[in-house]
């Protein structure tokens, strides 16, 4: 089995290779007219400027954390610090590459759209796939290199804590990328809309609007770079979590002799190695399946485009499911201690199913193909207030199905896990009797994320098409081109909902696994984190509160950053003669808007981002029990807020679009205005605060896990 880490690294490199190949195809395509080139360059430069500024700030943060890790943690110097830096670096590389390709693919997609959707779709998809496979490739490469180096070669004592430090590196980048990007994109969007559409009365993406470029930059820094960093850390985290948990739950037995007569080898070639390598194998197989799936998406004429898009991801998922079952049987077939290896493979399939179903729930509540959004659109007839109340209620009620699915996945994987291990082994003294189930619950998250390459490809395809539409509009291309890009954009929506479901579902399961690892590393797995104690209950309240505070802070940040943008756009309309009227040759100072958005969002990301790191540290040094409560409170309440805010925001967005499609009075009616209010409220809900919640709960948990030895004074 010792070939598995190398197989994983090879699969990662294959994924990166596919990304490289697709990038070449994209870059070879034509950028179109000079105006298009110019616009694309402005968007590209703005995006890169943001990323540069952001990495500058995040660089300082990462440097400080590296020093703290090196000094404070027993394994910090040099391994912990190195792994942390590596995680941060790999995530940053994925971010830079993703942003590069997205800002190259947008204009080329716009140009291809002039010849129809069949030409444009493959280009947009390939752009997304570069992002997807870079994220997944860098993530898997990082984890497998860490494994190979720290475990196999250096044989570091605390190898698994070091793996967690790699995860924390990725999380650090993701935290700031998600918050900063989320604030940027919505501040620019709201600023551009409020002054442009509402005050100046000019259409969206009109070149006269100084904030238009910033708005398009926002799509890239928020929906591409932010989302990519988010999924990098989700993906890496989901692989790392079960490995770390296995080390903590079962690791006490490494090097010991048999626990009972029947279980002979728990060390090398035995159970423990199987438990470590199984997650890596699943990730490797998922990568291969994703590559196959991605290669199946082509712009064939005569076949429905949406079917082609779904076909690729569905093949990737199905292949992963089948391969996982085989992998379970293969890895655990001959290992003492596990009676039914297939069950551990089934856990992966279960996780995949739960993620898919959560995605469907989100689709059900946010797509205008189903009742809730249609009814919500109808509530616009009694004004904006009823639209708001309706969306909030829908978002809140959507937590019910999602929670039932997560709990079902949790209980199901736990049961499968307990059934997979041999009862005598689980009953052997010295460790938690639930170890098998806990390990399996951690595995379920990989099921959702194994196909990250393919799933992110479709997810990133959305903003690329969106950007292409913006460029088409700004470059005054004929309206048919915009229609093509709009069509492309809407095609990806269902698959994007699946990606969202995977992101939030896996966040919950990964955070739970990390939470359990935390409890194990502070020695509370046997003692327990007792909800009856005042410390734990206090922690629970603080954790719930932290998620509300985080949501509030990020929403307020969007408001302030948007305000800065509004002031600037108003100033330009007032001070640049001929701008509003569209006098030929008069151009807005777009660069200034980009700069303002960049500065404002970076400034605003500091407080919520730092809070997410500092709060668990502050509580952990006071009481590890209270920190356990805090993590559990943040996890459960944060999950509700994430689902609630994302789905409410999505529902408002599509209720507006449903009215714009001609229902309930259509565009320009009073009902439409009411729906626009809902959509504006939903913007920070679904693109800033809601998605940031996923990261918040994982960052808080992984920080706690990594710093556990410091809390104990080790």
């Amino acid at each position: 089995m010792s070939f598995i880490p190398y197989l994983a690294a090879a699969a990662a490199i294959a994924g990166l290779g596919l990304a490289f190949y697709f990038a070449k195809v994209v870059n070879a395509a034509d950028e179109g007219t000079d105006v298009m080139k110019e616009l694309a360059a402005a968007i590209r430069e703005g995006s890169q400027a943001f990323l540069k500024q952001e990495y500058k700030w995040v660089g300082v943060f990462v440097a400080v954390m590296t020093v703290v890790i090196a000094i404070v943690l027993p394994y910090g110097m040099p391994y912990g610090a190195a792994a942390y830096l590596m995680g941060a670096l790999f995530s940053s590389i994925a971010g830079v590459v993703g942003m590069q390709i997205a800002t190259a693919a947008n204009v080329r997609t716009a140009n291809a759209a002039r010849e129809g959707a069949a030409k444009a779709l493959p280009l947009a998809f390939k752009g997304g796939a570069v992002m997807g496979f870079t994220v997944a490739g860098m993530g898997l490469l990082g984890v497998s290199l860490c494994y190979i180096f720290f475990v196999d070669i250096a044989g570091v004592d605390d190898a698994f804590s070091v793996l967690a430090a790699f995860g924390l590196g990725g999380s650090s980048i993701a935290l700031f990328a998600r918050i900063g990007g989320g604030i940027y994109t919505k501040a620019a969007d709201v600023g551009a809309d409020l002054v442009g559409k509402v005050e100046a009365g000019i259409p969206e993406d009109d070149p006269r609007n100084p904030a238009t470029i910033a708005d398009n930059v926002g799509d890239n820094v928020g929906d591409v770079a932010g989302m990519g960093a988010d999924l990098f850390e989700s993906y890496a985290g989901s692989i790392v979590a079960p490995i770390v948990l296995a080390a903590l739950l079962f690791g006490g037995f490494v090097g010991q002799d048999a626990i009972s007569g029947e279980i002979s080898a728990i060390g090398e070639g035995g159970l423990l190695e199987g438990l470590y390598l199984f997650p890596l194998l699943i990730a490797a197989l998922g990568m291969i399946a994703s590559i196959i799936g991605a290669l199946l998406v082509r712009g064939r004429e005569g076949k429905s485009l949406s079917a082609q898009l779904h076909f690729g991801t569905n093949v990737a998922m199905l292949l992963t499911a089948v391969l996982s079952l085989a992998a379970g049987a293969f890895v655990f077939g001959d290992i003492d201690g596990v009676d039914n290896g297939l069950f551990l493979g089934l856990v992966i399939v279960l996780g995949l199913g739960v993620g898919y179903a959560i995605g469907f729930v989100s689709e059900y509540y946010t797509s205008d193909h189903y009742g809730p959004v249609k009814r919500l659109a109808g509530e616009s007839q009694t004004g904006p207030a009823t639209v708001i109340i309706g969306g909030i209620a829908d978002g809140m009620i959507s937590t019910v199905a999602s929670v039932i699915l997560i709990v079902g996945g949790l209980v199901g994987s736990y049961a499968l896990g307990q059934a997979a291990f041999s009862p005598e082994f689980l009953a052997s003294a010295g460790f938690v009797a639930e170890a098998g189930g806990l390990y399996a619950a951690a595995l379920a998250a990989i099921g959702m994320l194994a196909t990250t390459g393919a799933v992110v490809a479709v997810d990133a395809y959305g903003p690329i098409s969106d950007n292409a539409g913006g460029i088409a509009e700004m470059a005054h291309l004929p309206p048919e081109v915009r229609e093509v890009t709009d069509g492309l954009d809407s095609l990806g929506n269902t698959t994007a909902a699946v990606a969202k479901g995977f992101a939030i579902g896996s966040a919950a399961l990964t955070a739970l696994a990390l939470f359990r690892s935390y409890t194990a590393s502070v020695g509370l797995t046997l003692e327990g984190i007792d909800l009856v104690s005042v410390e734990v209950i206090s922690g629970l309240f603080l954790g719930s509160m932290a998620t509300f505070a985080f949501a509030a802070l990020t929403m307020k940040s969007v408001g302030r950053a948007a305000q800065a943008m509004i002031v600037e756009v108003r100033r330009q309309f007032a001070e640049i003669p001929g701008l509003r009227e569209g006098k030929p040759g008069v151009k807005p100072d777009s660069a200034r808007c980009v700069e303002i958005s960049t500065q404002a969002s970076l400034k605003e990301m500091v407080i919520p981002g730092t809070l997410a790191i500092v709060l668990p540290l502050a509580v952990g040094f006071v009481s590890v029990q209270a920190l356990g409560g805090l993590l559990a409170g943040a996890l459960s309440t944060g999950f509700m807020l994430a689902i609630f805010m994302s789905n409410a925001g999505g529902a408002w967005d599509n209720a507006k679009k449903y009215i714009e499609a001609g229902n309930f009075g259509g565009k320009g009616s009073e009902n439409h205005k009411a729906a626009v209010t809902g959509d504006t409220v939903g913007d920070p809900f679904k693109d800033t605060s809601g998605p940031a919640m996923n990261i918040l709960i994982k960052v808080m948990t992984i920080v706690s896990l990594v710093f556990a030895p410091a809390f104990l004074g080790l």
Copy 2:
């Protein structure tokens, strides 16, 4: 010390006597003109019709629960069932009396307002005081009678479980009264506003609007009856909770001999009796202090009315604080096992302080005297969406200070409690070492609620003044009269904020105490409810989810009930000739609107109300551990939602009023319209879903506690 239950009963009767005396004073006042009498009669009849219908439904529910308790619980027949029925009955009596007096005081206050505020204030306050002292009097009388009968006279084995059943009786009424009343009041309010003010363009409380009477009825059934039932159960619950907890934590020692040589008498005349009687004594002293405080509120000329109103409650609180310290020293002075009785008195003072501070936080975030509401009003300049986002963010951020206060109160009272008991005693084998602190944390809630009589007096005074204003408007009294009643209404706001802080703060602390009692009765106090286990984490998610679902269900109910009202009001305007124009002699069919509101709100209250009872039972029969997680999740997330929704709603309300006072363009401006949208969204937040959260978390906990023996199959 055995006189204490009798003292408590006597204090309760004194409170009821004061209520009776005040009721006589109120009823002796003049009702004013014939039109006023007629309007008052319509409101009274509508309110009573609602209460009658509601009690019919709730009666069926209570009957079923009584039978279930009698059959399922070991102590159910006859004691548990009897206590449950008694709790329900006492709460209902308080509700009926409160409603009677509120619908009598409203018109008399309106009439007195014709002679100025100095005449009107005492009348409105006395009306509120009847309500306050009936609620507190019936609550304290019920608990002390239960104690005297079940503990002293009958010597029932499970006396303390029986006490919990009394609490559950009160909670059952409160649950439905809060939800039903909350839906009624907002459905009528929204229905009246949307058609009347917005569509027909007639002012608020205009007699032409068919929904005006229903709107005024709503104030009584929601803000008076609903709030009263809520506080009845909070008050009774806060006294019962520490008694039950003491029985469960320390009760194993009753009748046993000394644990160690030093602790000689833990039974009669000893520690256990002290722990049981102390809460009753505090409640008795609080009642006496409240009576004194209430008698100090008079309509003296030349003194600021607001000062007089505050003076009464402040005296009541200060007196309670001083008497509590003395009570701690008195009760525990000579008892072995407690070294510092004064510390347990200090816990009461701490609880009072925390409740007051939470009230101030709510005041800070919702009053236009402070920054947040002023800033929120300013956000109306960029339209309704920014007002909504701003209010949501403010409401969410307001959880921070509230949680810090609750956690401070929790940790502080825990520390005081542990310090109060002798270390040897706490270290003695056989029970939880934290018992002292846990008991003290339960005591803190009584600190907030001991002055319920005085606090509710001022709280109920608000809707009475509000109703008086409505009557003045409908009866075409001169505008000065309306000004007087509006002034009275706003005077009570600060004190009402304190009441709100007490209600939510005590809900959290009482629910925690009941939660701990639950864990003790299912035998988990020593074993713990371990957050690491899959069952508990699953429960935690389900509990968090339940609060979101409950909030969504109640909001949706308001929407549907309001819709029914809107349809009817539109129908009347369309079908009754001359109504809109105000043709003399043409009257709307107000009774029909009252009926519709009644039917709709009763129908809508069934599902969320039943859910609150059935969910914990369903989970409890599967796993008592999971139920522990569920309760903790509901408690922490529910507390956030309660604070968030109440404060966001309050902030929107006052931001609108701030604009109406002439800021940011004043009434009728675009900014005002944006603020009205916020206010409408806030209506179900602050008056339906938010307050219902307090009850939800307590009902779920007390149901679990009462049914604990059934879960265990005893």
